[in-house]
């Protein structure tokens, strides 16, 4: 049994036994792709009563390397408006790239994204959204994001 499946199995049982508020596992049938639904719990008018769907894609190098994480569209699931989230669902967040550490988990990453949404009050996309989306790679991990805005 490869090590990463064991670790993901533990994460899954942890997510199911101690679910964090606003974070629920929608689909985790294998150790390749998981879908996690998140809700922003405070009364942020941008996201109130909305649910968003995150897709986690794991490689055998997980958790030494970060998973691919992005928002996906689905029935009743939109890409949240945020100055760091592109309209194709790619997220510019340092913990998903250079800031990744193997002690992070699906739960902790979901929580980071949840709080990133909760702290936002700008109803806008990144300034280079159109340009990025037109030429974006399939995997957000192939994008070299430049993190220089810590305010949002």
């Amino acid at each position: 049994m490869p090590g990463y499946t064991k670790r993901l199995g533990r994460e899954l049982s942890d997510l199911k036994s101690n679910p964090a508020v606003g974070i629920s596992v929608f689909q985790a049938d294998d150790f390749r792709i998981w879908l996690i639904d998140i809700q922003v719990m405070d009364n942020n008018p941008l996201y109130v009563s909305k649910t968003f769907r995150l897709q986690f894609r794991f490689t055998p190098t997980y958790p030494i390397e970060a998973p691919e994480v992005q928002f996906i569209r689905s029935l009743g699931r939109e890409i949240p408006m945020h100055p760091h989230i592109y309209s194709n669902g790619h997220i510019c967040l340092d913990v998903l790239g250079s800031g990744w550490s193997p002690i992070q988990t699906v739960g902790s990453v979901s929580m980071s994204i949840q709080s990133m949404l909760a702290g936002n009050d700008r109803n806008e996309r990144p300034p280079d959204d159109a340009r990025y989306v037109a030429s974006a790679p399939i995997s957000p991990k192939q994008t070299r994001f430049v993190y220089h805005d810590d305010n949002v």
Partner: protein
């Protein structure tokens, strides 16, 4: 891809700290989780400590360090303090703790699940014995009294059935096996020379067997902590002073390595260490050095791999990855108390590699590319139309001169965000058909260029925000 059967068996096999919730001993959850590596979430295997005093499995931290581009950039996964592989130190105490806990875990779990949670019930009797898990643990330390009078220590509850009693006895028995050495060392060690502690001890003993010492959660007399080395109980301030001497004393004893010289108080330490020492002395395994891959050309690297007995096929990247993984596996194995044979290690390496290739094949699955083609079909149409127009323009004035090269340049200009267009053009089934169905034969080359731009995007496209 993992079948659903494989998935469910994995889910059944794994143990998790959350197994303790809902049992009689939920407090063991924290103990269980602190004996696990934060990287693999499994019990520590050959635990090693970083300079920032965080502990990981040998293999986990080595892989983690190996994954960073240079050794200078390696940092602790927990606190991000710089980590050097040569500064890693074995954490023997944790290794022993894990071994003992793992041995006892199943038995403790069975007992903890047998009986429903009993809330601490105050009893009217004078000896104030209670059936709460923390105090029961305290009682274990006073082994003698419990052994002599097992019946008095059990709370006379109205609904105390025989089976429950039996279960409780079982649990006590299990815990004795775990704690026996520690209890012994504490009982028989010469009292550490300080007034306060001997006061606590003498007052406790003067109260006799039926009396009850106030014990904290760790099972020690209130406010006192045990020395992590010799387990003698004292106040926290005293531990600070005592610890240095205690370490020196223990080291001296170890270096002498003379069984007759060590006192009985160190017996448990020696029994635990005897195993690793014996296996080590049998055949010391050498650590493998890391390679500066820049200094090795392909053939040198291949011969290096052959020298190590590893397969030497594949691309340069594969060779490097294979070597890095092997060094991590090998060195972690050298750290282990029960090292595997080279054959087993080679099998591990093979498993790792087949997983990687399996994943690589999955990644470029037709499904993904079909979705990609569908979502970007508008852009494909647009680009094809433009390319056609350009070709027409070129063809008309200068017969046969409109080489696709110029088209390529135009296409590139429309994608400013990209650094370069990959030279290698991939044939992709779904999209290939899609595009060729819309275009005549003359356009084939141009379309390849377009596909190259869209399907295999450059590895690094900068996005500023």
């Amino acid at each position: 891809m993992l079948s659903s059967i494989g998935y469910s068996t994995i889910m059944d096999q794994i143990s998790d700290p959350s197994d303790w919730t809902g049992t009689r001993l939920p407090s063991l959850l924290m103990l269980d989780s602190s004996l696990r590596c934060r990287i693999c979430k499994d019990f520590f295997k050959s635990p090693f400590m970083t300079e920032c005093t965080h502990t990981f499995c040998s293999l986990c931290i080595r892989k983690c360090i190996a994954s960073t581009p240079t050794s200078e950039t390696a940092c602790c996964p927990i606190c991000r303090a710089p980590v050097l592989e040569i500064r890693l130190r074995r954490n023997q105490v944790v290794e022993d703790l894990v071994e003992w806990f793992e041995n006892a875990r199943a038995a403790i779990m069975t007992t903890a699940k047998e009986e429903p949670v009993v809330i601490a019930v105050p009893v009217a009797s004078t000896d104030s014995e209670r059936v709460s898990s923390s105090e029961r643990r305290g009682r274990k330390r006073r082994r003698d009294s419990v052994d002599e009078e097992p019946s008095t220590s059990v709370t006379p509850e109205s609904g105390d059935s025989a089976s429950r009693r039996a279960a409780r006895r079982g649990s006590r028995k299990v815990s004795y096996e775990v704690k026996l050495d520690i209890g012994e060392s504490e009982d028989e060690v010469a009292p550490f020379d300080n007034g306060k502690k001997s006061d606590a001890r003498s007052s406790a003993s003067s109260r006799g067997d039926s009396s009850f010492i106030i014990l904290d959660d760790d099972g020690n007399p209130d406010g006192l902590v045990p020395c992590p080395v010799c387990n003698v109980v004292m106040t926290p301030q005293e531990v600070q002073i005592h610890l240095d001497d205690c370490f020196k004393e223990q080291e001296a004893k170890e270096s002498r390595a003379n069984p007759s010289s060590s006192s009985k108080s160190n017996d448990h330490i020696r029994t635990l260490q005897s195993q690793p020492l014996s296996t080590k002395s049998k055949k010391p395994l050498q650590r493998l050095p890391k390679l500066q891959y820049d200094l090795f050309n392909d053939s040198k690297l291949r011969s290096k791999l052959v020298e190590l007995g590893l397969p030497a096929y594949g691309t340069r990247v594969q060779l490097q990855q294979r070597h890095t993984e092997w060094v991590s596996l090998w060195n972690a194995n050298a750290d282990s108390n029960n090292p595997k044979t080279k054959k087993q290690l080679l099998r591990d390496l093979n498993d790792w590699e087949s997983n990687l290739t399996k994943y690589a094949v999955q990644k470029v699955s037709a499904n993904d590319l079909a979705t990609w083609g569908r979502t970007h079909s508008n852009e494909f149409d647009d680009l094809i139309a433009r390319a056609k127009k350009n070709v027409q323009k070129k063809l008309h004035p200068e017969q046969q001169q409109g080489e696709p090269n110029t088209v390529e340049v135009n296409v590139q200009n429309q994608h400013e965000g990209q650094d370069s267009v990959p030279k290698e053009l991939k044939k992709v089934d779904g999209i290939d058909q899609k595009i060729s169905s819309r275009t005549d034969e003359r356009m084939d080359y141009d379309c390849d260029v377009l596909k190259g731009t869209l399907i295999t995007p450059p590895v690094s496209s900068d996005a500023f925000m």
